[in-house]
């Protein structure tokens, strides 16, 4: 199995898993927060926030990548400040993770928001009458009941991050071992003569990873639903 993939392909697979995991885990707390805000609160600018979150879904990925380069690049308004602190995102794997998380964010927020909206606010009220402060109600009622949605959102985001290409290649380019994820590697292999077999292997890896993620989410989701459901 180890021989089946060459070192270059291995690096792409490992990098893709690393980038996608970080992209998913790091954006999860913010994803839950934004989903909760959109589901439960009404505040000025709510539609603006909703639009902003969904923007990467509608914009051409290349445009998103270019905007990231403009803002987070070493000479960009945010990027230059980060650079002063020693944080450089452009052309690094961390930048790839940022691009992937932004592209995956709408899918994550959407799934979590739906699951929060499905929770009867009357249960949260019941928690409050039993003495739980809003933070505790969130931690003991809302969060556990939204778990299936949080899980589904995370898996979706992970799969999206694994497949992210346009924004990534625009923002962090296609540097072997640094920013060459599976999609970028497939693209690169297809540019050189004789690269088809390597590309094909990565295609198979992509399909296997995506299918496993789906099956896993289905399995765990069903378990949680059986535990939570039937009320």
């Amino acid at each position: 199995m180890a021989d089946w993939l060459g070192p270059e392909e291995w690096r792409a697979v490992a990098l893709s898993l690393q980038v996608s995991l970080w992209a998913t885990l790091a954006s999860l707390p913010l994803g839950v927060f934004v989903a909760y805000a959109l589901a439960r609160w009404s505040f000025p600018g709510k539609q603006l926030l909703n639009g902003l979150v969904h923007l990467p879904l509608i914009l051409p990925p290349v445009v998103t990548g270019y905007l990231l380069l403009l803002t987070l690049g070493t000479r960009g308004p945010v990027g230059s400040i980060l650079a002063d602190w020693g944080i450089v995102l452009a052309f690094r794997w961390t930048g790839a993770a940022v691009a992937a998380s932004i592209m995956a964010f709408p899918l994550m927020v959407r799934a979590i928001r739906l699951s929060i909206e499905a929770i009867d606010p009357k249960l949260e009220q019941a928690g409050a009458t039993l003495g739980a402060s809003p933070v505790w109600v969130f931690a003991t009622v809302t969060l556990p009941m939204a778990l299936p949605g949080i899980l589904a959102g995370s898996i979706l985001a992970f799969a999206k991050a694994m497949g992210e290409f346009g924004a990534t290649i625009t923002f962090v380019s296609n540097i072997p071992g640094q920013t060459r994820t599976i999609p970028s590697a497939i693209y690169a292999f297809l540019q050189v003569p004789g690269g088809e077999s390597s590309a094909m292997k990565l295609v198979i890896v992509s399909v296997v990873v995506a299918m496993s993620a789906l099956l896993l989410s289905e399995l765990v989701g069903r378990r949680i639903a059986a535990r939570v459901g039937g009320a």
Partner: protein, 364 residues
């Protein structure tokens, strides 16, 4: 003692009510839409009224004039909802323990084992709410509220979602709660029989206003107060179990008047409260002869109150207490019923429904 004064407008409809709830069960009684739930939610803090003051003993929960409005989780209440609202992701045991976890360490609290035993939910502890019947869910909801070490229990039509059999299953637990737990209970209902069985104090509501408040027998025996409509009217009497007869009847003594009911599982000497629905009472000017009905109560007419339709409600003062009768206006005229006139109330033995009979501890 809970003191409530609330004014709140919902568009056209305004709730403007003030009442006091002494220890025991205070029932907010009225038709749907009379503002009962609004008042309970204001007490719970789930609704902030336009204006008002709510205080439980010395604790001010709400005072709009002074800008005080405690958040629901700081009010120390146990709220029993109509639909139970158990947490589906927690086991019954975890549901029961939820409130206790947030209660102050030094708060006087009910013992877990005692509450479980009181409500008969021992076998359910490791189940999830999804696997419980409607009646079981409601018992767990009662336990959950009780175990949160509340200073006041609120119950918003906790039986309304249940069928008759389940209601009969849960009602005794509320009676035990009233008699064995020191916490005052504010109970919302539109059912005359529930009120008759549970209430220490009745607060009758109509269109957002309090039309009467006081002891249960007093309020329910007043024909001018029919919060749930003339159809549901019924008076409450207190009677003592006199003896059990061999033919399957139990004789009760209502202020010297004998009443016969199908055999009750109560020891002689026990005080009971009995509800006699107004539509189960027939009136007669003379003592009836040759009638199959066993229960005949002599009395004097207190008031004749014509209804909207062809009916009228007659209040009759008997030795056992006030009885309401729902008859036609034509009959009232034919019998020349008027205040001060002597008449007999005829109650068929079977018309005293068992679910309306409850242990009364001299609350009346």
């Amino acid at each position: 003692m809970l003191e409530v004064r609330v004014r709140h407008a919902f568009g056209e409809f305004t709730v403007d009510a003030a009442f006091k709830a002494p220890p025991g069960v205070t029932v907010l009684f009225g038709r749907s839409g009379s503002g009962k739930t609004t008042l309970v939610n204001a007490v719970a803090g789930l609704l902030t009224p336009d204006e008002g003051r709510i205080a439980s003993d010395d604790r001010v929960l709400l005072d709009t004039a002074r800008g005080i409005s405690l958040k629901p989780h700081r009010r120390r209440l146990g709220y029993i909802f109509q639909e139970g609202r158990l947490f589906p992701h927690l086991s019954v045991r975890q549901n029961l323990g939820y409130g206790a976890w947030f209660a102050p360490r030094n708060a006087p609290r009910e013992e877990f084992g005692r509450v479980v035993e009181l409500l008969g939910i021992g076998p359910l502890l490791d189940r999830r709410p999804g696997a419980l019947s409607g009646g079981e869910k409601q018992r767990v909801a009662i336990g959950r509220a009780l175990l949160s070490a509340p200073q006041l229990i609120l119950a918003d039509e906790p039986l309304a979602a249940l069928d008759e059999a389940r209601k009969a299953e849960i009602l005794p637990y509320f009676e035990r709660l009233r008699d064995e737990v020191a916490v005052p209970i504010l109970y919302v209902s539109h059912s005359g029989s529930e009120v008759a069985r549970l209430a220490t104090t009745v607060v009758a509501l109509e269109a957002g206003r309090v039309i009467a408040q006081g002891a249960a027998a007093e309020v329910l025996g007043d024909p001018s107060i029919l919060p749930s409509g003339a159809r549901e009217a019924g008076a409450v009497l207190t009677a003592r179990v006199a003896r059990h007869h061999e033919d399957g009847l139990t004789e009760l003594d209502a202020g010297g008047v004998p009443l016969f009911l199908p055999r009750l599982a109560e020891a002689p000497g026990r005080l009971l409260r009995i509800r006699i629905a107004a539509h189960d009472v027939i009136l007669s000017r003379g003592r009836p002869e040759g009638l199959s009905a066993l229960n005949i109560l002599p009395g004097t007419v207190h008031e004749v109150r014509p209804g909207d339709g062809p009916g009228a409600i007659v209040a009759l003062d008997t030795a056992g207490g006030r009885v309401l009768a729902r008859i036609t206006r034509r009959s009232a005229d034919a019998l020349a019923l008027a205040p001060g006139v002597a008449a007999y109330a005829i109650v068929k033995t079977v018309s005293v429904a068992p679910s309306d009979i409850g242990g009364g501890r001299g609350h009346l």
